[in-house]
């Protein structure tokens, strides 16, 4: 998608008609709008959004623009004239763009009537509202197309627009410690994970419907099984939803906890204690991981060591086999091997050499044949050997079990000590005279407890879900067996199975795709962050499994809070450009005041990099502050158009001038 032209009529401070070319070339992808505060930069940004998303954007306006609604955008001069002349005023925005090389244009237009309120304020009341979408075909004909979400979803869905058309202030939010939900949402929407999830949900619904039909159709014992099968599925669905809810809740609590801990870390009175707490917590986590590993080892070794309960039986069998061997009823282990060796060397045990066909050769071959025929005895011989080896393995496992248990107990003791030490640090933090510190520490403690409690709940639900899945598998076998006698039910079962399997496959694809996307976004975010901020070389950026943007210093400590506001904004910018690249949607990138919060030191790198990231870049900049020597040098030769916005205080109109 690429914007071509914007036409506006009586929109915000733009009185009358204005047409702005947004054409650009690959080597000059930037279009720059320069204007002071209140000169109409953000209005142009809003005009593009309104043109594309119409009512959706109107609904978002009050939240985005401090309570403003679309009628507040009707140009005040035009409204006064309409009142004076007793006419209606028309406001419209038309955006021309190309998508897959086909030209389109969307117009949002409304007619408004001027109305005086009781306090003599002049306001606009909407009387008409039109949205049109046209495609211009090869012959130049304008064909009207239905304007709907299907079309928009294809070019740039409304729910992802914020990651392509965004204001510089807002993106700072993405790096706040409790923004993991917003980050997850961004990836989820932009890389189309939502589509996969919808497909999976749909197939599950289809499967559920077939289950319901099979349940109604089935008779006798099969009817009972179908009913139970359906009930188990319902329970499993409910459990999965509850687990997801609890995980989200836990994630939110942990984000809050991280934010509180970050605050505590930054307070001069607490940084030392909080640093100590972090070290202890890390040590505790390491210990826990080791304990988990040892627990798995214990389970594995116990399953072998436990075979020692058969020691008495094994001993009896060994004694019996040894007795038989002594009696010569079982061949000696060497016999077959020895005979084979002698035949190979063509040399008898007494030293006599022989050739094939000689009597000694024939005697030895017959003897070997006879030994090989004693397969049962050979089996017993093998069994004797295996029992010996098994006994050694069981003994070794018993020793390892004991060692692992000792190590585990030591770690458990260490864990107790660490917990105690953390409690002491918490107590010291809570004792600090400053009320805000104590309060924050108490809040952190509450959240830790809540997080633990939810984790316990999740584990219990996971176990119940596991049991549910086992029962479902069991019912599957039974319904398949009984279904063979009821053809109609069997057909429904088959369909249900196909739908369920398809849903499961999509679920697997979803997991793989989500993980790949997460990793790609992480890699590109880090890459861009380092491009944007040279001083960031000491930091590593990670997007963890909870979709939290984590910044770590060279010691592996969390360092997000140590980033300057400018660095944080660069991180957000890096993240947004990363997801736009991973999405492969390649729409224009429009940023309102991208350098507003950035330190001058990073202006150079960011302004040099931005035009490289997209085919079309619209920047709305404040002269001098954002459009300075540094950014000008980098962006001027990359810009197809540079527009100057002139606002006349007296006439209260903005004029657009191309530089």
């Amino acid at each position: 998608m690429r914007f071509e032209r914007l036409e506006i009529l009586n929109f915000a401070s733009y009185y009358g008609e204005h047409a702005i070319s947004l054409n650009c070339t690959d080597d000059k992808p930037a279009i720059i709008f320069l204007g002071g505060t209140g000169y109409g930069k953000t209005s142009l940004f809003d005009a593009i959004n309104w043109a594309l998303y119409g009512e959706d954007y109107e609904n978002e306006l009050p939240k985005r623009r401090r309570g403003r609604n679309i009628l507040d955008y009707v140009n005040e001069v035009a409204l006064q004239e309409a009142e004076r002349d007793g006419k209606y005023v028309e406001m419209s925005c038309t955006l021309y763009f190309k998508h897959d090389d086909i030209p389109y244009y969307i117009t949002q237009s409304l007619a408004a009537k001027p109305v005086r309120t009781s306090d003599n304020t002049l306001t606009a009341t909407q009387t008409d509202r039109i949205t049109t979408l046209y495609e211009i075909d090869g012959a130049g004909n304008h064909r009207k197309k239905p304007y709907n979400t299907i079309f928009l979803d294809e070019i740039l869905p409304s729910n992802v627009k914020d990651y392509f058309l965004f204001d510089g202030d807002r993106i700072y939010n993405l790096t706040k410690p409790d923004s993991s939900e917003e980050v997850r949402e961004a990836i989820y929407r932009v890389v189309d994970l939502e589509l996969l999830q919808n497909a999976q949900a749909h197939l599950e619904q289809v499967a559920a419907e077939y289950r319901r039909m099979a349940k109604n159709e089935a008779k006798g014992r099969l009817g009972d099984i179908e009913e139970k099968y359906d009930a188990e599925h319902k329970q499993l669905t409910q459990l999965k939803a509850d687990i997801q809810t609890s995980r989200t809740e836990k994630q939110s609590i942990e984000s809050q906890l991280n934010a509180i801990e970050a605050k505590l870390q930054n307070l001069p009175d607490t940084s030392k204690l909080q640093g100590r707490r972090d070290e202890l917590t890390k040590e505790l986590q390491r210990t826990q991981n080791e304990i988990n590993q040892l627990t798995s080892v214990l389970r594995e070794k116990a399953s072998i060591a436990g075979l020692s309960f058969a020691a008495h039986a094994a001993q009896m069998l060994v004694e019996e086999l040894d007795t038989k061997r002594k009696r010569g009823e079982i061949p000696k282990a060497v016999s077959q091997t020895l005979l084979k060796d002698l035949l190979k060397m063509k040399k008898c045990i007494c030293g006599t050499t022989f050739e094939e066909g000689d009597p000694a050769y024939i005697t030895l071959t017959n003897r070997l044949q006879a030994e090989q025929n004693k397969s049962n005895q050979q089996t017993l011989l093998d069994l004797r050997i295996d029992l010996g080896k098994a006994s050694v393995e069981i003994e070794q496992s018993s020793i390892q079990l004991k060692e692992s248990e000792i190590k585990r107990n030591e770690l458990l003791d260490l864990q107790k000590e660490l917990r105690k030490a953390i409690e002491q640090v918490d107590a010291e933090l809570e004792k600090l005279p400053k009320e805000d510190v104590a309060q924050l520490t108490r809040e952190a403690r509450k959240r830790r407890e809540a997080s633990n409690s939810i984790e316990g709940k999740i584990q219990r639900m996971l176990e119940r879900a596991e049991a549910c899945e086992r029962r479902i598998k069991e019912f599957e076998k039974q319904r398949e067996k009984l279904g063979k006698q009821q053809a109609k039910v069997a057909a429904l079962q088959l369909r249900e199975t196909f739908a369920s399997q398809a849903a499961q496959e999509i679920d697997k694809i979803y997991d793989i795709f989500a993980e790949q996307s997460r990793q790609s976004v992480e890699a590109l975010t880090l890459q861009e962050f380092k491009h944007f901020v040279r001083s960031s070389s000491a930091y590593t950026v990670a997007l963890n499994n909870n979709y939290e943007l984590v910044v770590l210093d060279s010691n592996g400590n969390r360092a997000l809070q140590r980033l300057s506001m400018g660095q944080s904004q660069c991180l957000s910018l890096a993240f947004i450009t990363a997801i736009s690249r991973v999405s492969e949607k390649n729409p224009p990138l429009a940023i309102d005041m991208p350098f507003g919060r950035l330190d001058q030191s990073v202006h150079k790198d960011v302004s040099a990099r931005l035009p490289e990231l997209t085919n079309q870049l619209l920047l709305f900049l404040i002269p001098e502050i954002e459009w300075n020597d540094v950014t000008r040098d980098n962006l001027k030769h990359k810009a197809s158009h540079i527009y100057w916005l002139d606002f006349d205080e007296t006439s209260r109109k903005t004029e657009i001038r191309e530089l």
């Binding site: 399953s303 309960f309 039986a313 089996t379 093998d382 098994a390 049991a467």
Partner: protein
């Protein structure tokens, strides 16, 4: 040629299946509450305990397949099951019939599983630690002797 139990199906009593479910989980995270990774691991241990306690309980008619013999480890589980079969029959010819070896193991396991249930699930502490302690206690009592 070693004993081959690959083609044999292994059953437990329907009534005891629930105990198997409670004690087995593939997932590492559930190790403390589910001390066995596979049904096979639990089955063999239950058979060993049944034999050690001399508690042989043939399967009822209500039985349930839990896995197939191919999962047995040739050099560890199979010789142990052979020993359990010999312990029951005191006759080496029993080892010629894989089905018979497994049938006997099923009887021992059917006797041993309840003891495991008592020791692992009905005692204070997590099932895995109860199981480990049971083994270590036994080990130290042998060491004392």
């Amino acid at each position: 040629m070693a004993l081959n139990l690959s083609d044999v199906r292994i059953y437990v009593d329907q009534d005891t299946h629930e105990i198997y479910e409670k004690l087995v989980s593939l997932a590492e995270k559930n190790a403390e509450s589910h001390p066995f990774r596979t049904m096979k691991d639990l089955f063999v241990i239950a058979a060993c305990i049944g034999s050690q306690q001399n508690k042989y309980v043939p399967l009822s008619t209500q039985k349930k397949e839990i896995f197939r013999g191919i999962i047995f480890r040739d050099k560890l589980d199979v010789p142990i099951l052979a020993a359990l079969a010999y312990h029951k029959e005191r006759d080496l010819s029993v080892l010629e019939d894989p089905r018979k070896i497994v049938d006997i193991a099923q009887g021992w396991a059917n006797g041993g599983i309840h003891l495991l249930q008592d020791e692992l699930l009905y005692q204070p502490g997590t099932p895995l630690l109860n199981w480990v302690n049971m083994l270590l206690d036994r080990q130290s009592s042998y060491d004392d002797q």
